[in-house]
């Protein structure tokens, strides 16, 4: 049974939510004065949610946060208020997904703070579709074709082409909230901040696979702003920082660190990990990353079980590929500890839950897919590096 996804402001709770006949429950993003403050799963009865019931549940789920925001409005003060916003380029790396891309680009037109420019990086396209979409319907957006296959090639291309001080990346299968860009940009006042990530919510939960994705590897990392400092945060614990689906980087700093590793992420044998590898490199060089929930976007998760398994396999492969990179190239032996820790404290307990059929367990095939990815990761990375160096030589 699918879950409806709703977006409700505490100050504008409707007397009743109707028309949810296809759903038994709803995931609600709770906002207070347009800022995300929490989420709640609410039951749907006969296609409706009663407003009074909804209000109680939302208030309970949001906890202290609306009050803190209320006080900050009362005081007319916030850490990120009245800072100079850096100039920004928005970059979307895409490949043959024009339906999603069109939605993404339309949502960007409604941003409250407009960027200096928007770039669409078409990664090793097979058809002309993306080019046609951009040139016909979004003439102000710059279309760039990156022939080398791989998401990190496309990201590096965006860094080179961009004119803004900050490059904000958004996935082609996501749409942005009106305050997304300003939310990211207002966190760059500290010169040590090299990267800011945002909150990503599911755009829809129509299939079981999408629901499992949201449970197994949610992109959202809470509703409080968090700072990860290079001189205190373990650089290989990047899971809690965010993801490349919704991140902005300080262009000059990331280029100084050598850009994204083209042997990683989508389009290569490693399938993912380019974003997290960059997070750990940012931290090992002493720079900071901020997680900012105001920078909200909605991501359409994979719909079919095969796609889900593939994605979960890819995450396992990507994480182990980046850990292998850290050990082999950067000689970061501490990365080993993270690999062991992940298995002991996360994967193993989940496996035991699944095998002993305890409540709250995750599907065994998903866990196995992830483990297979982990085993394949180091080899995938070596293969991928070879491909990159051959590509360069050729």
């Amino acid at each position: 049974m699918p879950t409806a996804v709703l977006d409700i402001d505490l100050e504008k709770i409707p007397p009743e939510v109707v028309g949810l006949h296809d759903y038994k429950k709803a995931l609600v993003l709770i906002r207070f004065r347009s800022r995300p403050v929490g989420k709640a799963v609410v039951e749907v009865c006969g296609g409706r949610i009663c407003g009074h019931h909804l209000r109680d549940q939302l208030l309970e789920a949001a906890g202290d946060l609306p009050w803190e925001f209320w006080l900050r409005d009362f005081l007319d003060w916030d850490e990120t208020k009245n800072v100079r916003l850096p100039s920004a380029t928005v970059a979307i790396c895409t490949r043959e997904r024009t339906t999603d891309l069109a939605k993404c680009l339309s949502s960007l037109q409604k941003l409250q703070t407009q960027p200096l420019e928007i770039l669409v990086i078409d990664n090793a396209p097979k058809t002309q579709k993306t080019r046609d979409l951009v040139t016909q319907f979004f003439p102000t957006i710059r279309y760039i074709c990156e022939p080398q296959t791989g998401l990190d090639w496309a990201r590096n291309r965006a860094l080179c082409e961009a004119q803004g001080e900050v490059v904000a990346f958004i996935d082609d299968d996501a749409i942005v909230d009106f305050a997304w860009l300003a939310g990211l940009l207002q966190n760059f006042a500290d010169p040590l901040v090299a990267c800011v990530t945002g909150l990503t919510m599911p755009f829809e939960l129509e299939t079981t696979s999408q629901e499992w994705f949201e449970i197994h590897c949610p992109f959202g990392k809470g509703f409080r702003r968090k700072i990860f400092k290079g001189d205190s945060h373990d650089p290989f614990r990047t899971g809690e920082i965010g993801a490349g689906v919704n991140m902005a980087v300080r262009r000059e700093k990331i280029l100084e660190l050598g850009g994204f590793d083209p042997a990683l992420d989508a389009g290569t044998p490693t399938e993912s990990g380019g974003d997290h590898e960059m997070f750990s490199r940012v931290l090992t060089h002493g720079y900071s990353i901020i997680y900012e929930p105001v920078a909200l976007c909605w991501h359409r998760h994979r719909r079919s079980p095969e796609e889900l398994r593939r994605a979960v396999y890819g995450y396992g492969a990507g994480v182990y590929a980046l850990l292998s990179r850290a050990i082999l190239i950067e000689r970061e032996w501490a990365a080993l500890k993270v690999a062991v820790g992940w298995f002991r404290h996360d994967q193993l307990p989940k496996l035991i839950y699944a095998v002993t059929r305890r409540p709250g367990r995750e599907p065994l095939d998903l866990l196995f897919a992830e483990l297979r990815g982990c085993v394949a990761g180091p080899f995938a990375y070596l293969r991928s590096r070879k491909l990159v160096s051959n590509g360069r030589a050729g």
């Binding site: 202290d64 006080l71 003060w77 002493g286 501490a334």
Partner: protein
């Protein structure tokens, strides 16, 4: 003959000819008119060709060089300041490469009001490999400057960084300049006297210069040893600083290694030095396998040891240190005001700016919210300090007070409707 310049830029140096050349070159590129400033290089005990280089340096501004034997930077700066003809003094270190707007930006801040101490931004730059030590150092510097750049920062004497700051010549001379008895921490010591004389501290991010920091791990150990000695010196001169400089640090000792190294520094310094040597070598090993968490812990311990070793050199035994700290005089509370936030935040801010108290008691109507306490060596309170403190430190109490006021203004039935169950969740 030109008229007196506005700024006198004073650069003390000791055998760093190429750095001085870089600093002087950056000063030739200033936006500020060359006729309005002079540069005084004080070559302290230089045995390289610094003096000849400066003498041959071609510039549009007036450039003087004095070979002296002052013994330390404090003495050299005083010597330069005594020969300055400018209305303003701008102290720059020799390892700084000024951006073209540096002098102009110092000047712009001074135009706002008199009696200011303007501290400029010094983003660090390193030549050679970026090791753990330098990465940590860069974080430390940038964090200091970022905090100072925030409007709510409450300046203290520790914010005076002698590498890039400016003040009126008259103010500097009235306070007697730097204390030449300090080879290190001379900036803290002057900073304290400046704060006490009610000088207004300001930070200018635009008055920026690249800082070519040549520190290394071993030099940092030597440096922290000197800081320990200097802190005792400051405590001797300003007894009220003994507690914030030394005693509060001791209160933070928690781990066994910290306590052990502290004892060794005072009682078994030879064994302590030997252990510190081992620690130092382990740092190299940890860096090789890139265990930065452990590295940070050990580096902290090493610094801790050398700091107290420096203190021990000055005070002798632990009981002598205890006596030294106990003889710190009781310091009376400075001016304190009561603020009723119910009168409005604007009103409260105006009061703070008009009175500039050292401490404040915050109320909302009858309800006590909290107090902003006096800090030894910190500037008096300003309007910018208020809202951040309320948002960060006293948010729950203030919320409760405001909620209570609004609730009592309603009829009983409305109260029940308007206070949901979370009202009893802690505020």
């Amino acid at each position: 003959m030109r008229g007196a310049p506005v700024f006198s830029v004073i650069i003390p140096t000791h055998n760093r000819c190429s750095s001085v050349r870089r600093a002087l070159t950056s000063l030739t590129l200033q936006n500020y008119p060359a006729s309005q400033f002079e540069v005084i290089v004080v070559a302290d005990g230089c045995s390289d060709n610094t003096v000849e280089m400066v003498q041959q340096f071609k510039t549009g501004f007036l450039l003087k060089v004095f070979p002296v034997n002052a013994g330390n930077a404090a003495g050299a700066r005083n010597f330069g300041a005594a020969r300055a003809r400018g209305r303003m003094l701008l102290f720059l270190d020799d390892d700084i490469e000024a951006v073209p707007a540096l002098i102009e930006s110092h000047g712009l801040v001074h135009q706002r009001k008199p009696q200011q101490v303007v501290i400029g931004y010094l983003p660090p730059r390193f030549e050679g490999a970026l090791d753990f030590f330098r990465i940590g150092l860069r974080c430390w510097w940038e964090e200091q400057f970022f905090q100072m750049a925030r409007p709510e920062h409450r300046f203290t004497y520790r914010d005076l960084l002698s590498g890039n700051f400016s003040l009126e010549t008259e103010l500097f001379r009235r306070l007697g300049g730097f204390n030449p008895g300090f080879g290190c921490r001379e900036d803290y010591e002057l900073g304290y006297r400046l704060i006490k004389s009610n000088a207004h501290f300001a930070f200018s991010p635009a008055a920026s210069g690249w800082h070519y920091d040549a520190s290394t791990l071993s030099r940092a150990c030597q440096r922290v040893f000197d800081e320990g000695r200097a802190d005792v010196g400051i405590g001797r001169r300003h007894p009220e600083l003994r507690a914030p400089l030394l005693f509060f640090k001791m209160e933070r000792f928690t781990s066994v290694p910290q306590k052990l190294l502290f004892r060794l520094a005072f009682e078994r310094s030879r064994l302590g030095d030997f252990l510190a040597g081992i620690l130092y070598r382990r740092l190299g090993l940890l860096e090789k396998i890139r265990y930065r968490g452990r590295w940070r812990e050990l580096f902290y311990l090493l610094r801790h040891y050398w700091y107290w070793r420096g203190v021990a050199t000055e005070t002798g035994t632990r009981s002598a240190l205890a006596g030294f700290l106990q003889s710190s005089p009781f310091h009376p509370v400075g001016s304190e005001i009561e603020i009723d936030l119910r009168q409005g935040l604007k009103r409260a801010e105006c009061d703070l700016d008009a009175i500039r108290p050292d401490a404040a008691l915050l109320y909302y109507g009858e309800t006590f919210i909290g107090s902003i306490q006096r800090e030894i060596g910190a500037e008096p309170l300003r309007s910018n300090h208020l809202r951040p403190v309320l948002a960060k430190k006293f948010s729950k109490r203030l919320l409760a007070a405001v909620a209570l006021e609004r609730a009592t203004a309603l009829e009983p039935m409305e109260v029940l409707e308007s206070i949901p169950e979370y009202a009893d969740q802690g505020f």
